[in-house]
Amino acid sequence: METLSKKPRVGILALQGDYESHRKAVEAAGGDPVFIKTPEAIEGIDALILPGGESTVIGKLMIRYGMDMAISAAAAGGMPIYGTCAGMILLAKRIESGAMRGGQPTLGLMDIAVARNAFGRQVDSFETEIETLLEAAEGDGVITVRGVFIRAPYITEAGPEVRVLAHYQGKIVLAQQGNLLASAFHPELTGDLRVHRYFLKSIPH
């Protein structure tokens, strides 16, 4: 059946983590959210979110179910992908510190190195105001979002293709490389939809 409104179908990797919070954020931002648990399901979506959670768990399950190849292929084909916290670690080319002993898998799609649990354990989790360049692509405005950082990572190195969109205490916490977007913090926990809207706008019609 033809539908008049063509909302982008935004897949949310639902192997583990706060995929439910992302579902609500995507819906509120005007997308059509769908949970993704198998490689085949990636075929039907226009964009993908890698949620927060435990990067060790999501990374292992991704490989156990053969989803790493499917996601990498989709990324190579230009699919917009947004990773929050654990999702940012999964996008990274390299984990510089804090990886589990014996190493842990990442997709290696984005030219960034990350430090895991870099702001500390849960007692050091925090919220703060983050000034971002989210709007700068079109205008010149700096917009401030509430950043919720939970046992959060940050980006220690970014390649020449990477556009840094926000810092906190000198650390890169929001960055973009072509179709890939990564944040160390969790906009999906705040009700502030601007980062999700920014991501949705990058989806080709």
Binding site: E54, K60, R64, A166, H167, L189
Partner: protein, 324 residues
């Protein structure tokens, strides 16, 4: 709570000109706040769709992390052994907890006795990621639970029904788990408590405000929280399941009934092949509603832990009735 209000300082930066701000121990640089309610509940949100495993030493913690546990609960004896050995069950040796924290990269939880302010403060001082004020340990206070908003670390507490869940949330629990009957390998009480909790939520959804005040009285729960649950149809914090989960099918059952993550205590390391069972539990939670996958996940897994018929347990050996 360490709420360090407003202020108009700026930190972080836009356009690539980082303003370096020293990380202060108490976490304020104007707009930065630590140990907020949102950051506490936020960690619980990150643990959703996973398995939290009881471990008694570093070796088990490594097996759990390797299998895909989303967090570990560090304790000296799993509930099945606490049940067997009897005596007073207390907070675990901080040295053992610390070793586990230093070894695995996933969150580490630990248990304090109900109402034991100092055990909880010790765990907080160590920087464990979550404290379980747990009925599995022998209660230290039979009248008062901890005032959990006062701590920087988030708490998880057990419940058997909606009233108990809301009392614990009122005291500051950032995560609720239904109690089940720990250390039995029998899922029947976990099911009873989850159905009671979610049935309680469904019941109040159709009530008007006058009825809700009476319901708050009957539930012995804070009225504001009763109103909120009636309006939203869910607890204000995540809702996990614990107590008696022994097989992948048990874990998938609890997810089907509405749990958002599953705690597995004795079920893994009291079974024949802990590493494999741990992995299958993780798979079962992710694919809890995919029965074809659950066939594979459940097949050829060896011996589960030996279960106990809860009706054969004397009243004074029940753990779930501890706390109020």
């Amino acid at each position: 709570m360490a709420e360090n209000g407003g202020g108009n300082g700026t930190n972080g930066s836009g356009g690539g000109v980082p303003t370096l701000t020293l990380a202060s121990g108490n976490g304020t640089d104007g707009t930065t706040q630590k140990a907020t309610w949102r950051s506490k509940v936020g960690l619980a949100e990150m643990l959703k769709g996973g398995v939290i495993m009881d471990v008694i030493n570093v070796e088990q913690a490594v097996i759990a992390e390797e299998a895909g546990a989303v967090a570990v609960m560090a304790l000296e004896r799993v509930p099945a052994d606490i049940r067997k050995h009897g005596g007073v069950a207390r907070m675990s040796d901080p040295k053992m907890i610390k070793e586990i924290m230093d070894t695995v990269t996933i969150p580490v939880m630990a248990k304090a006795r109900i109402g034991h302010i100092v055990e909880a403060r010790i765990l907080e001082a160590m920087g464990v990621d979550f404290i379980d004020e747990s009925e599995v340990l022998t209660p230290a206070d039979e009248q008062f639970h901890l005032s959990k908003h006062d701590y920087r670390v988030p708490f998880v507490c057990g419940c058997r029904d909606l009233g108990e869940a809301l009392r614990r949330i009122g005291e500051g629990a950032a995560l609720i788990r239904t109690k089940g009957e720990a250390g039995t390998g029998n899922v029947v009480e976990a099911v009873r408590h989850m159905r009671s909790l979610l049935g309680g939520i469904r019941r109040i959804r159709s009530m008007d405000e006058a009825e809700l005040m009476t319901e708050a009285k009957n539930l012995q729960a804070p009225y504001e929280l009763v109103l909120e649950v009636a309006r939203t149809g869910k607890l204000p914090v995540p809702n996990f399941s614990a107590g008696g989960v022994a097989t992948p099918a048990d874990a998938a059952l609890m997810m089907t009934l509405g749990a958002e993550t599953v705690f597995v205590g004795s079920g893994i390391f009291k079974s024949g092949d802990p590493a494999e069972r741990a992995k299958r539990m993780v798979d079962a939670v992710t694919h809890y509603n995919n029965y074809e996958k659950l066939v594979e996940i459940s097949a050829d897994l060896g011996e589960p832990m030996v279960g106990i018929d809860i009706r054969m347990l004397p009243e004074n050996e029940l753990l779930a009735t501890r706390g109020w």
